[in-house]
Symmetry: C2
Protein backbone atom coordinates (compact mmCIF):
# COMPACT_ATOMS: atom_id res chain seq x y z
CA UNK A 1 0.00 0.00 0.00
CA UNK A 2 2.50 2.57 -1.23
CA UNK A 3 1.70 6.21 -0.71
CA UNK A 4 3.12 9.45 -2.04
CA UNK A 5 5.94 10.79 0.09
CA UNK A 6 3.94 13.94 0.79
CA UNK A 7 1.10 11.79 2.03
CA UNK A 8 3.35 9.93 4.47
CA UNK A 9 4.46 13.35 5.65
CA UNK A 10 0.97 13.85 7.03
CA UNK A 11 1.19 13.04 10.74
CA UNK A 12 -2.52 13.64 11.32
CA UNK A 13 -4.22 10.66 12.92
CA UNK A 14 -6.78 10.53 10.14
CA UNK A 15 -3.99 10.42 7.57
CA UNK A 16 -2.41 7.54 9.49
CA UNK A 17 -5.73 5.73 9.60
CA UNK A 18 -6.24 6.25 5.87
CA UNK A 19 -2.80 4.74 5.23
CA UNK A 20 -4.23 1.49 6.63
CA UNK A 21 -7.87 1.53 5.53
CA UNK A 22 -8.09 4.36 2.98
CA UNK A 23 -8.75 2.19 -0.04
CA UNK A 24 -12.06 1.16 -1.52
CA UNK A 25 -11.82 -2.55 -0.82
CA UNK A 26 -10.07 -2.44 2.52
CA UNK A 27 -12.98 -1.37 4.70
CA UNK A 28 -15.27 -3.81 2.87
CA UNK A 29 -12.89 -6.63 3.81
CA UNK A 30 -12.88 -5.39 7.41
CA UNK A 31 -16.69 -5.14 7.33
CA UNK A 32 -16.92 -8.75 6.13
CA UNK A 33 -14.55 -9.78 8.94
CA UNK A 34 -16.99 -8.21 11.42
CA UNK A 35 -19.76 -10.25 9.78
CA UNK A 36 -17.71 -13.35 10.48
CA UNK A 37 -16.07 -14.01 7.12
CA UNK A 38 -12.69 -15.61 7.75
CA UNK A 39 -11.58 -17.51 4.64
CA UNK A 40 -9.92 -16.12 1.52
CA UNK A 41 -12.36 -17.83 -0.82
CA UNK A 42 -15.39 -16.43 0.96
CA UNK A 43 -14.03 -12.88 1.04
CA UNK A 44 -13.39 -13.24 -2.70
CA UNK A 45 -16.83 -14.66 -3.48
CA UNK A 46 -18.83 -12.27 -1.29
CA UNK A 47 -17.03 -9.10 -2.36
CA UNK A 48 -16.35 -10.17 -5.95
CA UNK A 49 -12.94 -8.63 -5.39
CA UNK A 50 -10.18 -9.64 -7.79
CA UNK A 51 -8.17 -12.31 -5.99
CA UNK A 52 -4.85 -10.53 -6.60
CA UNK A 53 -6.30 -7.39 -4.99
CA UNK A 54 -7.69 -9.41 -2.10
CA UNK A 55 -4.33 -11.08 -1.54
CA UNK A 56 -2.66 -7.66 -1.41
CA UNK A 57 -5.25 -6.11 0.90
CA UNK A 58 -5.31 -9.06 3.30
CA UNK A 59 -1.51 -8.93 3.48
CA UNK A 60 -1.63 -5.21 4.16
CA UNK A 61 -4.28 -5.54 6.87
CA UNK A 62 -2.31 -8.37 8.48
CA UNK A 63 0.95 -6.39 8.35
CA UNK A 64 -0.85 -3.40 9.88
CA UNK A 65 -2.11 -5.56 12.76
CA UNK A 66 -5.79 -5.19 11.83
CA UNK A 67 -6.21 -8.86 10.93
CA UNK A 68 -4.49 -11.91 12.41
CA UNK A 69 -3.75 -14.80 10.04
CA UNK A 70 -4.00 -18.12 11.85
CA UNK A 71 -4.60 -21.82 11.12
CA UNK A 72 -8.27 -22.73 10.98
CA UNK A 73 -9.04 -25.12 13.84
CA UNK A 74 -9.31 -28.67 12.55
CA UNK A 75 -8.84 -27.62 8.94
CA UNK A 76 -5.35 -28.84 8.34
CA UNK A 77 -3.36 -26.22 6.49
CA UNK A 78 -6.24 -23.85 5.80
CA UNK A 79 -5.81 -20.41 7.31
CA UNK A 80 -8.34 -17.83 8.38
CA UNK A 81 -8.18 -14.07 8.95
CA UNK A 82 -9.54 -12.80 12.25
CA UNK A 83 -9.87 -9.22 13.52
CA UNK A 84 -7.37 -8.19 16.19
CA UNK A 85 -8.18 -5.74 19.00
CA UNK A 86 -6.88 -3.01 16.69
CA UNK A 87 -9.19 -4.25 13.96
CA UNK A 88 -12.19 -4.41 16.28
CA UNK A 89 -11.56 -0.72 16.97
CA UNK A 90 -12.61 0.05 13.40
CA UNK A 91 -16.27 -0.85 14.00
CA UNK A 92 -17.44 2.73 14.77
CA UNK A 93 -15.92 3.92 11.49
CA UNK A 94 -17.43 1.06 9.49
CA UNK A 95 -20.81 1.70 11.11
CA UNK A 96 -20.63 5.47 10.54
CA UNK A 97 -19.73 5.12 6.86
CA UNK A 98 -22.44 2.48 6.38
CA UNK A 99 -25.05 4.74 7.97
CA UNK A 100 -23.95 7.63 5.76
CA UNK A 101 -24.24 5.45 2.69
CA UNK A 102 -27.69 4.30 3.73
CA UNK A 103 -28.86 7.89 4.22
CA UNK A 104 -27.27 9.53 1.20
CA UNK A 105 -26.90 6.71 -1.31
CA UNK A 106 -29.79 4.39 -0.51
CA UNK A 107 -29.98 1.08 -2.37
CA UNK A 108 -32.51 0.83 -5.21
CA UNK A 109 -34.84 -1.26 -3.04
CA UNK A 110 -35.22 1.62 -0.61
CA UNK A 111 -34.41 1.48 3.06
CA UNK A 112 -31.31 -0.04 4.60
CA UNK A 113 -30.08 -3.42 3.40
CA UNK A 114 -28.88 -4.33 6.87
CA UNK A 115 -30.33 -3.68 10.29
CA UNK A 116 -28.19 -3.84 13.40
CA UNK A 117 -29.98 -5.18 16.46
CA UNK A 118 -29.00 -5.75 20.08
CA UNK A 119 -28.85 -9.54 20.39
CA UNK A 120 -30.14 -9.49 23.98
CA UNK A 121 -33.42 -7.66 23.26
CA UNK A 122 -33.62 -7.46 19.46
CA UNK A 123 -33.98 -3.66 19.52
CA UNK A 124 -32.34 -1.58 16.79
CA UNK A 125 -28.91 -0.13 17.53
CA UNK A 126 -28.30 3.28 15.97
CA UNK A 127 -25.12 4.48 14.28
CA UNK A 128 -24.03 5.89 17.66
CA UNK A 129 -23.83 2.34 18.98
CA UNK A 130 -26.52 2.55 21.67
CA UNK A 131 -29.47 0.16 21.89
CA UNK A 132 -32.79 1.91 21.24
CA UNK A 133 -34.41 -0.54 23.65
CA UNK A 134 -32.22 -0.73 26.74
CA UNK A 135 -30.02 2.28 25.97
CA UNK A 136 -26.81 0.34 26.58
CA UNK A 137 -23.75 0.85 24.41
CA UNK A 138 -23.49 -2.28 22.27
CA UNK A 139 -20.08 -3.69 21.30
CA UNK A 140 -19.95 -5.24 17.81
CA UNK A 141 -19.88 -8.77 19.22
CA UNK A 142 -23.32 -8.17 20.78
CA UNK A 143 -24.87 -7.01 17.51
CA UNK A 144 -27.09 -8.98 15.18
CA UNK A 145 -26.93 -8.02 11.52
CA UNK A 146 -30.36 -8.67 10.03
CA UNK A 147 -31.78 -8.20 6.53
CA UNK A 148 -33.43 -4.79 6.04
CA UNK A 149 -36.16 -3.64 3.67
CA UNK A 150 -33.59 -2.65 1.05
CA UNK A 151 -32.09 -6.13 0.83
CA UNK A 152 -32.97 -8.12 -2.26
CA UNK A 153 -33.55 -11.84 -1.58
CA UNK A 154 -30.47 -13.88 -2.40
CA UNK A 155 -30.62 -15.81 -5.66
CA UNK A 156 -30.13 -19.57 -5.85
CA UNK A 157 -26.59 -18.89 -7.05
CA UNK A 158 -25.80 -16.62 -4.11
CA UNK A 159 -22.42 -17.17 -2.49
CA UNK A 160 -22.60 -18.78 0.98
CA UNK A 161 -21.97 -15.49 2.79
CA UNK A 162 -24.77 -13.68 0.97
CA UNK A 163 -27.06 -16.63 1.67
CA UNK A 164 -26.11 -16.77 5.35
CA UNK A 165 -26.70 -13.02 5.78
CA UNK A 166 -30.29 -13.39 4.54
CA UNK A 167 -31.17 -14.29 8.13
CA UNK A 168 -30.11 -12.52 11.35
CA UNK A 169 -26.51 -13.30 12.24
CA UNK A 170 -24.43 -12.32 15.24
CA UNK A 171 -21.35 -10.28 14.38
CA UNK A 172 -17.92 -11.89 14.86
CA UNK A 173 -19.53 -15.36 14.66
CA UNK A 174 -17.85 -17.37 11.90
CA UNK A 175 -19.54 -17.33 8.50
CA UNK A 176 -20.67 -19.40 6.78
CA UNK A 177 -22.13 -21.46 9.64
CA UNK A 178 -20.36 -24.78 10.10
CA UNK A 179 -23.50 -26.55 8.89
CA UNK A 180 -23.68 -24.61 5.63
CA UNK A 181 -22.01 -26.03 2.54
CA UNK A 182 -18.85 -24.18 1.68
CA UNK A 183 -19.00 -23.25 -1.98
CA UNK A 184 -15.88 -22.24 -3.82
CA UNK A 185 -15.93 -18.88 -5.62
CA UNK A 186 -16.95 -19.21 -9.27
CA UNK A 187 -14.27 -20.22 -11.73
CA UNK A 188 -12.73 -17.32 -13.54
CA UNK A 189 -13.08 -14.88 -10.67
CA UNK A 190 -10.35 -12.38 -11.56
CA UNK B 1 -13.31 7.83 -9.68
CA UNK B 2 -13.68 4.71 -11.79
CA UNK B 3 -14.25 1.41 -10.05
CA UNK B 4 -14.17 -2.21 -11.15
CA UNK B 5 -17.50 -3.39 -12.47
CA UNK B 6 -17.73 -5.98 -9.71
CA UNK B 7 -17.22 -3.26 -7.16
CA UNK B 8 -20.07 -1.17 -8.56
CA UNK B 9 -22.14 -4.32 -8.32
CA UNK B 10 -21.87 -4.10 -4.55
CA UNK B 11 -25.12 -2.54 -3.37
CA UNK B 12 -24.03 -2.47 0.26
CA UNK B 13 -24.29 0.99 1.75
CA UNK B 14 -20.67 0.87 2.87
CA UNK B 15 -19.62 0.04 -0.67
CA UNK B 16 -21.62 3.03 -1.92
CA UNK B 17 -20.00 5.25 0.68
CA UNK B 18 -16.54 4.01 -0.29
CA UNK B 19 -17.28 4.87 -3.93
CA UNK B 20 -17.44 8.50 -2.78
CA UNK B 21 -14.86 8.72 0.01
CA UNK B 22 -12.90 5.45 -0.24
CA UNK B 23 -9.64 6.98 -1.35
CA UNK B 24 -6.75 8.12 0.79
CA UNK B 25 -6.94 11.83 0.04
CA UNK B 26 -10.68 12.20 -0.12
CA UNK B 27 -11.49 12.05 3.58
CA UNK B 28 -8.51 14.32 4.34
CA UNK B 29 -10.00 16.92 2.00
CA UNK B 30 -13.38 16.50 3.73
CA UNK B 31 -11.66 16.76 7.14
CA UNK B 32 -10.01 20.03 6.06
CA UNK B 33 -13.40 21.31 4.88
CA UNK B 34 -14.75 20.66 8.39
CA UNK B 35 -11.78 22.64 9.73
CA UNK B 36 -12.90 25.51 7.53
CA UNK B 37 -10.53 25.21 4.57
CA UNK B 38 -12.36 26.42 1.47
CA UNK B 39 -9.84 27.45 -1.18
CA UNK B 40 -7.99 25.19 -3.62
CA UNK B 41 -4.60 26.68 -2.77
CA UNK B 42 -5.05 26.12 0.94
CA UNK B 43 -6.19 22.52 0.55
CA UNK B 44 -3.11 21.97 -1.63
CA UNK B 45 -0.70 23.64 0.79
CA UNK B 46 -2.10 22.07 3.96
CA UNK B 47 -2.39 18.52 2.62
CA UNK B 48 0.66 18.67 0.33
CA UNK B 49 -1.56 16.82 -2.13
CA UNK B 50 -0.48 16.93 -5.76
CA UNK B 51 -2.59 19.64 -7.40
CA UNK B 52 -3.75 17.33 -10.21
CA UNK B 53 -4.99 14.84 -7.60
CA UNK B 54 -6.66 17.62 -5.61
CA UNK B 55 -8.41 18.88 -8.75
CA UNK B 56 -9.73 15.39 -9.42
CA UNK B 57 -10.85 14.74 -5.85
CA UNK B 58 -12.57 18.13 -5.47
CA UNK B 59 -14.40 17.53 -8.75
CA UNK B 60 -15.47 14.09 -7.56
CA UNK B 61 -16.66 15.35 -4.18
CA UNK B 62 -18.57 18.18 -5.88
CA UNK B 63 -20.15 15.79 -8.39
CA UNK B 64 -21.14 13.49 -5.54
CA UNK B 65 -22.84 16.35 -3.70
CA UNK B 66 -20.45 16.30 -0.74
CA UNK B 67 -18.97 19.72 -1.52
CA UNK B 68 -20.61 22.74 -3.10
CA UNK B 69 -18.45 24.92 -5.34
CA UNK B 70 -19.50 28.57 -5.11
CA UNK B 71 -18.08 32.04 -5.68
CA UNK B 72 -16.21 33.42 -2.69
CA UNK B 73 -18.10 36.44 -1.34
CA UNK B 74 -16.33 39.64 -2.42
CA UNK B 75 -13.49 37.77 -4.07
CA UNK B 76 -14.31 38.34 -7.69
CA UNK B 77 -13.90 35.13 -9.62
CA UNK B 78 -12.36 33.08 -6.84
CA UNK B 79 -14.36 30.03 -5.85
CA UNK B 80 -14.55 28.11 -2.61
CA UNK B 81 -15.62 24.58 -1.70
CA UNK B 82 -18.13 24.25 1.13
CA UNK B 83 -19.60 21.12 2.70
CA UNK B 84 -23.22 20.35 1.80
CA UNK B 85 -25.67 18.71 4.19
CA UNK B 86 -24.57 15.39 2.68
CA UNK B 87 -20.95 16.32 3.36
CA UNK B 88 -21.69 17.38 6.94
CA UNK B 89 -23.07 13.88 7.47
CA UNK B 90 -19.55 12.50 7.10
CA UNK B 91 -18.35 13.98 10.41
CA UNK B 92 -19.00 10.85 12.53
CA UNK B 93 -16.93 8.78 10.09
CA UNK B 94 -14.10 11.33 10.01
CA UNK B 95 -14.13 11.52 13.80
CA UNK B 96 -14.22 7.72 14.23
CA UNK B 97 -11.30 7.15 11.86
CA UNK B 98 -9.33 9.98 13.48
CA UNK B 99 -9.90 8.50 16.94
CA UNK B 100 -8.83 5.07 15.70
CA UNK B 101 -5.67 6.55 14.22
CA UNK B 102 -4.92 8.35 17.49
CA UNK B 103 -5.32 5.15 19.47
CA UNK B 104 -3.57 2.70 17.18
CA UNK B 105 -1.13 4.84 15.21
CA UNK B 106 -0.23 7.65 17.61
CA UNK B 107 1.97 10.46 16.31
CA UNK B 108 5.64 10.45 17.34
CA UNK B 109 5.02 13.23 19.86
CA UNK B 110 2.63 11.01 21.78
CA UNK B 111 -0.97 11.86 22.53
CA UNK B 112 -3.50 13.24 20.08
CA UNK B 113 -2.52 16.08 17.76
CA UNK B 114 -6.01 17.51 17.92
CA UNK B 115 -8.49 17.82 20.75
CA UNK B 116 -12.19 18.36 20.08
CA UNK B 117 -13.93 20.57 22.63
CA UNK B 118 -17.50 21.78 23.10
CA UNK B 119 -17.33 25.48 22.29
CA UNK B 120 -19.96 26.37 24.90
CA UNK B 121 -18.12 24.91 27.90
CA UNK B 122 -14.69 23.91 26.58
CA UNK B 123 -15.11 20.31 27.75
CA UNK B 124 -13.67 17.48 25.62
CA UNK B 125 -16.04 15.77 23.20
CA UNK B 126 -15.39 12.06 22.77
CA UNK B 127 -15.46 10.09 19.53
CA UNK B 128 -19.12 9.31 20.22
CA UNK B 129 -19.89 13.00 19.81
CA UNK B 130 -21.13 13.75 23.34
CA UNK B 131 -19.71 16.52 25.53
CA UNK B 132 -17.89 15.13 28.59
CA UNK B 133 -19.01 18.24 30.48
CA UNK B 134 -22.69 18.78 29.74
CA UNK B 135 -23.38 15.40 28.13
CA UNK B 136 -25.05 16.96 25.12
CA UNK B 137 -24.55 15.59 21.62
CA UNK B 138 -22.34 18.14 19.85
CA UNK B 139 -22.78 18.81 16.13
CA UNK B 140 -19.54 19.55 14.26
CA UNK B 141 -20.34 23.26 14.01
CA UNK B 142 -20.30 23.48 17.82
CA UNK B 143 -16.86 21.86 18.11
CA UNK B 144 -13.56 23.58 18.72
CA UNK B 145 -10.51 21.83 17.28
CA UNK B 146 -7.59 22.60 19.59
CA UNK B 147 -3.92 21.58 19.53
CA UNK B 148 -3.21 18.43 21.52
CA UNK B 149 -0.06 17.16 23.25
CA UNK B 150 1.00 15.31 20.09
CA UNK B 151 1.00 18.41 17.92
CA UNK B 152 4.40 19.79 17.02
CA UNK B 153 4.55 23.61 17.02
CA UNK B 154 4.20 24.97 13.49
CA UNK B 155 7.42 26.18 11.88
CA UNK B 156 7.91 29.69 10.58
CA UNK B 157 7.33 28.31 7.10
CA UNK B 158 4.05 26.63 8.04
CA UNK B 159 1.19 27.05 5.58
CA UNK B 160 -1.57 29.39 6.82
CA UNK B 161 -3.91 26.52 7.72
CA UNK B 162 -1.31 24.74 9.85
CA UNK B 163 -0.52 28.06 11.52
CA UNK B 164 -4.19 28.85 12.15
CA UNK B 165 -4.82 25.40 13.66
CA UNK B 166 -2.09 25.98 16.27
CA UNK B 167 -4.77 27.74 18.32
CA UNK B 168 -8.34 26.59 19.07
CA UNK B 169 -10.60 27.04 16.07
CA UNK B 170 -14.32 26.47 15.66
CA UNK B 171 -15.20 23.89 13.02
CA UNK B 172 -16.89 25.09 9.83
CA UNK B 173 -15.55 28.61 10.41
CA UNK B 174 -13.55 29.72 7.36
CA UNK B 175 -9.79 29.18 7.49
CA UNK B 176 -7.49 30.97 7.33
CA UNK B 177 -9.11 33.79 9.31
CA UNK B 178 -9.80 36.85 7.18
CA UNK B 179 -7.07 38.71 9.07
CA UNK B 180 -4.42 36.12 8.29
CA UNK B 181 -2.22 36.54 5.24
CA UNK B 182 -3.09 34.12 2.49
CA UNK B 183 0.10 32.47 1.29
CA UNK B 184 0.19 30.65 -2.00
CA UNK B 185 1.37 27.05 -1.91
CA UNK B 186 5.10 26.71 -2.54
CA UNK B 187 6.28 26.78 -6.13
CA UNK B 188 6.91 23.38 -7.57
CA UNK B 189 4.16 21.63 -5.62
CA UNK B 190 3.54 18.64 -7.90
Amino acid sequence: MTLPRDYRGQTCSLARAMEVVGERWTLLIVRDAFYGVRRFGEFAAHLSVPRAVLTDRLAGLTAAGVLDRRPEPGAGRREVYVLTAKGLGLWPAVRALTAWGEEHAPPPGGGPRRLFLHHTDGAPVGPGGHCSGCGAPVPPGDLLVAPGPGLAPPGDDADPITAALAVPHRLLTPLPPATAPVRRPPKGTP
